[in-house]
Amino acid sequence: MALLEIRKVTRRFGALAAVDEVSLAIEAGEFFTLLGPSGCGKTTLLRMIAGFDLPDSGAIFLDGRDLVGTPPEKRPIHTVFQSYALFPHMTVSQNIAFPLKMAGKPLDEIQAKVKEALGQVHLEDKGGHLPHELSGGQKQRVALARSLVNRPRVLLLDEPLGALDAKLREEMQIELISLQRDVGVTFVFVTHAQSEALALSHRIAVMNEGRVIQLDEPSRIYGYPVNRFVADFIGKCNILEADVVEASSSGVTLQVKGLGKVTAPPREGAKAGERGVLALRPEQVRIGAPDSPHDLKNHFTGRVHDLLYIGDVTTYIVELPNGTRIEALLPNSAPGRATFFEAGDAVRVAWRHDAGSFLRD
């Protein structure tokens, strides 16, 4: 039995279904992520799990027990809020002690647990400080310690890294993973940042317009997006309109707008005449001199229209003679050499017959 089960949950605001018949089963100890653009319903779903909002229909079960009649303060589910929501009039220690006090724990146990929690988030010497004396990352850690100190069954995290700068965010991601592993609490993480979701999660539910579009492990979400929305939302992707010319168990042949015939991996249920898109990750596209030898089935020549040097990689935007643009990614593994090609250079882009995928809209 799953620890947290969401069964056909719907929540409407007026005519809009913010959450539309969502069903999910989250296992104990899992790092589960709800990923989607703003307004996709992920935060509404989170608030319903926490108990601040109730489903119009459907139910949420914790350990097989329906949570509908349990108010937020009685649910063994805690939330880390995006703005941290630390109590400004309490010290760090008092903040962390708050849930223990509410649970009526004896004073010596509270002191011992607060001390342990401070150690876990590396804030041993900050116990006496007030929240406004802390940096953003420290506040984040206090919020985490406070929500975890009395070991909830589920910890909900509502875009907790959104307010941090990029470098700190990466540090906190690593800390989050090790913290979750150490305390063994089930995490339900809400974010619109796909890289965060891919880096942290055991499983991801990609949401859009109140529905779960795809539920899978990060590598499968990235590698095998089920439709155009997921391919476009997760990572970078070349998306080109395409019609199926021929479909078989060994692959599909597509007539791609602006490219012509392209071979793609087989797609279940694809039929000749079907419309959709060819989704191609930039790192799947090889880029080389027009006369370099190759044995790839899909290849086109064009010119480098623009390039973006990012440090570890360079993104080339290649324009074909008919105006179609394709992004290709090249790692800069050799030091000192920033670019292999300059804007205007003639190049050939090519990809394997099993790269890319045909997706329905």
Binding site: F52, P71, P72, T79, F81, L86, F87, P88, F98, S147
Partner: protein
């Protein structure tokens, strides 16, 4: 050489006038009052001359006024009673204003301004008219009191009389000063981040704990400023005890008013006023000391 930058000039232009105003209309008069409290009263009000013009006339400097104050227990008693009434009024205002301020602060934003307008609306009518209205409401012929007394009469109990009593004074005081408690409380409560209450609830706090552990401690600055805005004016108030109170309900404000306008003993009135100021300062200092001790321990 120090150069007068444009910032310095602006600073003086901004802080100068209020500084000058307070100097002329607050510091100087206070000083005059201190001096007046050590002098003899003039024959028809005002102060007696410093040098006797006629033989046998009181003139010069004296500590007689303070002697009277400390010589008779009654003045201290009245001062103490005034503090008691002010404290009771402040507490009653706090208890009544807090739920209302909370209600306004948690109402939809578009309704708040209208509700605040309703709170200050009584100021649109004259202060005395509002106090006299309470004479009608609390009087023996009051439509609120008559049915009640009718029942009492049938039960053979003495009819209830509310007017000209300590109760009537406190009712009037609370009524007049309630907005001064509501407004600072509302201004404070309105700024609270609602996510803090969500967080408290999420971490296991029920409604009672959420109020006493989050809302109330965060509202303390509003409570303190509201309390000061009610306590200090009530302490010096003379009109309400005079209109609604009985013979025993004189407050220190009535004594000061009587000294200046009744017996025309300006030095005695000045002395009472200074004692009142000193007493208020002592209370404020004690409150500040207690507050600091409270935060140091926490």
């Amino acid at each position: 050489m120090t150069r007068l930058g444009p910032g310095t000039v602006t600073r003086w232009l901004v802080t100068g006038p209020p500084f000058l105003f307070l100097l002329v209309f607050f510091a100087l008069p206070s000083l005059i009052m201190v001096v007046a409290s050590f002098r003899y009263p003039g024959e028809f009000g005002g102060l007696a001359p410093l040098v006797a013009v006629r033989p046998g006339e009181d003139a010069g400097i004296t500590t007689e006024n303070y002697g009277i104050f400390f010589g008779d227990w009654i003045y201290f008693q009245i001062l103490l009673k005034s503090f008691g009434i002010a404290l009771l009024t402040t507490l009653a205002c706090l208890v009544m204003a807090y739920p209302l301020a909370l209600l306004i602060a948690r109402s939809p934003r578009r309704h708040r301004d209208f509700m605040v307008l309703l709170v200050v609306l009584p100021f649109a009518s004259n202060f005395l008219v509002r106090v006299y209205a309470w004479m009608i409401i609390l009087g023996d012929q009051s439509i609120f009191l008559r049915p009640f007394n009718y029942v009492l009469a049938h039960a053979g109990v003495e009819p209830l009389s509310l007017l000209f009593s300590r109760f009537a004074v406190i009712v009037g005081m609370v009524y007049v000063h309630l907005p001064f408690m509501i407004l600072p409380l509302y201004t404070n409560l309105e700024k609270h981040d609602p996510v803090l209450l969500d967080a408290a609830q999420d971490l296991g706090a029920n409604a009672w704990s959420r109020f006493w552990r989050v809302t109330f401690p965060l509202s303390l600055p509003g409570v303190f400023s509201g309390a000061a805005l009610v306590f200090i004016p009530v302490l010096g108030m003379f009109a309400i005890p005079e209109i609604l109170g009985g013979k025993d309900d004189w407050m220190v404000g009535n004594m000061i008013k009587e000294a200046f306008l009744g017996t025309r003993d300006w030095p005695f009135g000045s002395m009472l006023s200074i004692m009142l100021t000193l007493a208020v300062l002592a209370v404020a200092a004690a409150a500040a000391w207690l507050a600091r001790k409270g935060t140091a321990r926490a």
